[in-house]
Structure formats: C-alpha cells, structure tokens
C-alpha cells in the first residue's frame, strides 16, 4: 500500500517545500517510487526547488479539467527517474480545486507510486484542507520559534480531527549554538510541548539556500552538508529504519576556549 504523507506547518516559510523536495529526492534515491505533489496552488515553489520549473507542461488542474492525462502532467526527474512532480497551477487561487478532486488525483497516483508527498500551503484554509484530504500520514514541519510551534500545535489538532493519526515532527532550522546559549528552544523543548513523535531535526544551514539557487536538492550533493545528512536520516526513518539523531550539540565554550579564540590560538 502506498504511503500518502502531507507536509504541513500552519505557519508559512518554515521549510515545508524544502523538506518535500529533499525527502522526495532522498526516498527516490533509496529506490522508492516517489511522487511529490505541489498543493500550493497560486504560489507554487516545489518545481523551483527541484529545478523542474522549465519542464512543466500541464498542471493538476489540467488533469482535472480533462485536458490531459495524469501521466502527461507528471514531470519525471531526469537525475532520479524514480521521482515525479505533479505541479500546481501558478495562476489560479487555492479555491481552484476541491478536496474530492485532490483525493481522485492522489488515488490515481497510488497505482504507480509507493510514496506520495504532498507539499501543503501555509495556513489552515482551503489549500490546507485540499492537501490533507487524501493524506494518511502527516509530517509537521516547525522551527524552534514561538509562532511556528503555536501554529504547529493548532494544525496537529486539525489533523487529529480529520482522522490523520500518524503525525510526526520535523524540527527545522535548529541552531545548536543558540540552544547551547539558552536562546533557542531545544529539540526536547519543542517535542515536549507538541508531544508527537519526532521524525528528525534539520539544522539551519546556508547550503539550503545554495541548493535552492541551483534547483538541486541537498541530498544530491556528493559531500553532504549537515542539513543534507539530516534529510537523508529523516528519509531512512520514514522507511522504518532506526537512525540515531545527528549530534547537533555544541558544548558551551569553556573559559579557556574563549580565551584561546580571543587571542587567535
């Protein structure tokens, strides 16, 4: 049976699309047949992060309108043939599609793909409802910040009310040095507050921006950056492997290390 997983957060800009692109690519690399679905109608981004923006011919809306077949709308990745993108329409609003239609699309995808990742838009309105309509699992993406955690909590409640029981947490943009300095909530803090199982922690990493510039997900890098490694770990846990959390701890600097650093030693 296919896994249908929605990536959602409530708050915008916390890394849903980044996670979808990297997890999709990592799962495909691991031999899974993966479809990533952009459910952010009107503000599509997933194509950019995957570097597939120039290959879009049809979108999900065209499929629903009967203007093309589903396989014609799917953009197959050349680097990784196991991965396909179902693009959202860019010039239409989030109301352009209904939950029932989303279910039909996803249902059709399950015939071919064994992982379907749905990139949800921010918010809890129609776009969000569409993106969770067909999902059986959810990955909550949050950052260790007050508004993101609050919104995540709200979304977890909504998922529960919509009978999505397998809800797991990815904490993105963690800054270990700030945690060590007690200026950011730790992984344990955030997980304790949200009280859902932890799927992974992604450090804040400049390479994320470099990779989006190029349209190449981090997990394709030959030498994985910290965030790239973290995404690979998450993808392995999603497949049921037991992978320990990356050690992101930074020891509090001792007096002597500060002294040495100060004098350039």
């Amino acid at each position: 049976m296919s896994r249908i997983i929605v990536m959602t957060s409530g708050k915008g800009g916390v890394g849903k699309t980044t996670c979808t692109a990297n997890l999709g690519m990592a799962l495909a690399k691991a031999g899974q047949r993966v479809a990533v679905v952009d459910a952010d109608f009107g503000l599509r981004n997933l194509d950019l992060l995957l570097g597939l923006e120039n290959r879009i011919v049809y979108t999900a809306l065209d499929v629903l309108a009967g203007e093309c077949r589903l396989d014609q709308a799917l953009v197959k990745d050349k680097r990784q043939p196991n991965l396909a993108l179902l693009p959202a329409a860019q010039n239409r609003s989030k109301e352009a599609i209904k939950p029932e239609q989303m279910k039909r699309l996803i249902k059709a995808l399950t015939k071919v793909y064994n992982f379907i990742l749905i990139d949800s838009p921010a918010g809890i309105e129609m776009g969000f409802r569409n993106s969770i309509a067909a999902a059986r699992e959810a990955i909550i993406v949050t950052t260790p910040e007050i508004s993101a955690v609050r919104d995540a909590d709200r979304v977890i409640g909504l998922l529960e009310a919509n009978d999505i029981k397998a809800v797991r947490l990815v904490i993105n943009r963690l800054r270990p040095a700030m945690v060590a300095a007690e200026q950011m909530m730790s992984v344990k803090d955030v997980q304790g507050i949200l009280s859902i199982p932890l799927l992974g922690v992604i450090p804040d990493d400049e390479q994320v921006i470099v990779s989006t510039n190029k349209g190449e997900p981090l997990v394709l890098d030959e030498h994985l950056s910290p965030a790239g490694t973290a995404f690979i770990n998450v993808s392995q846990r999603l497949q049921g492997e037991k992978v320990p959390l990356m050690d992101l701890s930074i020891q509090k600097e001792s007096f002597f290390t500060r002294l040495k650093r100060l004098f350039g030693a």
Binding site: V149, I156, G157, M184, M185, K188, G192, P197, L259
Partner: protein
Amino acid sequence: MAIPIISDLLERLFGSSEDPHSRDDVKRRLQIVLAHDRLALDPQTMEMMRQEIIAVVSRYVEVDFDSLEFSLATNQRVTALTANLPIKRIRPLGRGPDQPIHADDEVKRIELASPTEASALDAKEAEAALRKFEENCRDEPELIHSPLDIDRSDLPDLIDGAGDALHPPEEIEASEKESNLLDQAERIHSDEPPFRKDGSDSDALNVPDMSIPDATAKATSRPKRNSK
C-alpha cells in the same frame, strides 16, 4: 573609551553577564498560549467561569479580591486551571457545604449585564465590581446568594447543565478539603477540554517503526487540541 573595550573584553571572556535566557521565556509563554488555544475558551467564557468560581467560593469564605489569580497552563498531557484565591476569613453562613443550593434559584437571582457590557468589562472593572459585591455581602449576608452581574442568556447550558451548584462539574475537583480555609489558595484542576472527561491516553500515537532510538523525550500521547 577604554572602559567599553575592557568590558567588552571581559564579556567575551566570561560570557554575557546578564545571561537573559530567552529560552525560558519562550517556553513559559508557549505553555500559557497553548493552554488557551487547546481549550478554545473565548475570553468571555473564561471570565464568566472565573466569576462563577469566585461566587461559589465567596459563599463560604471571604476571598481577598486584590490578590486572586487565575491561570491556565499546559504541561505534557494535562491542561490545568489554577485558581489562587487567598482567603481572608470564613463566612459565618447558615448554609454548609453539603447543603445543596437549587440551581434554578441561582440562575434567577443573578442579575444580567448586556453582552456588550460584558465584553467591555476589563480586568479593573471586574475587580471593582467584585469589591463592591464583597462590600454588599458584608452589609447584607443574603446578598451573597445573588452575587454577580453576568449575562448568561446566551449560555443557558453552562449553568443549567452544571446542576447542583455546590458540586462543581465532575471535571473540576476542588481540593478545599485539605485546607483549614485560612489564608490558603485553592487549586482547581481540570482535564481538558473542560466540560468533557475522556482519557487523554486514548489518543496515544503508536507508530512503532518510526521511533528514533536516541530521542530522549519520546512522547506517546499528548493533549487534545483545538480542532476548530
């Protein structure tokens, strides 16, 4: 000129002197904000509950209105309503705690305010009103049973459903018994959501193959959240 440089040097050597630890602030704030979010009680309802609790408690003891405190906090699985009601003295009342007050009497005797008035009520006004009430009580003990100006025309069930006013809804357990009633605070805990009692263990998530061996805090269950 030299002093800032030296203090900067010292700070870099010894770390920031004040060490504000905003991490603790954010955790504290989140606990409160999530407790409210998860309960999904609007401020008016919250205020009404507050006044009713005070009214009930005031029948038996004289509460110090200047220093009472109500707060909601959530911790792991349980949301708790904490009421701190410092007590000045016990009221010499005919009615003891095990003599029920008829719920209908209660509702009829409470004067109503319009919803706009109710929402305009800010904390100061509420306190002033309560202080006035307290004074009235002192002059005329019978007034104790017509305590507060609350409009509950919109919310008949809340009160009627509570039944015997002396026995608070099951979910709210007052622990007044352990007290000697003097100068002590009462803690009232409730499972949330407030007017429903169901095991919060029942929504335990079980996703066996997704666990991370090294994750220290592995939650298997969590509180009900607002799903509105």
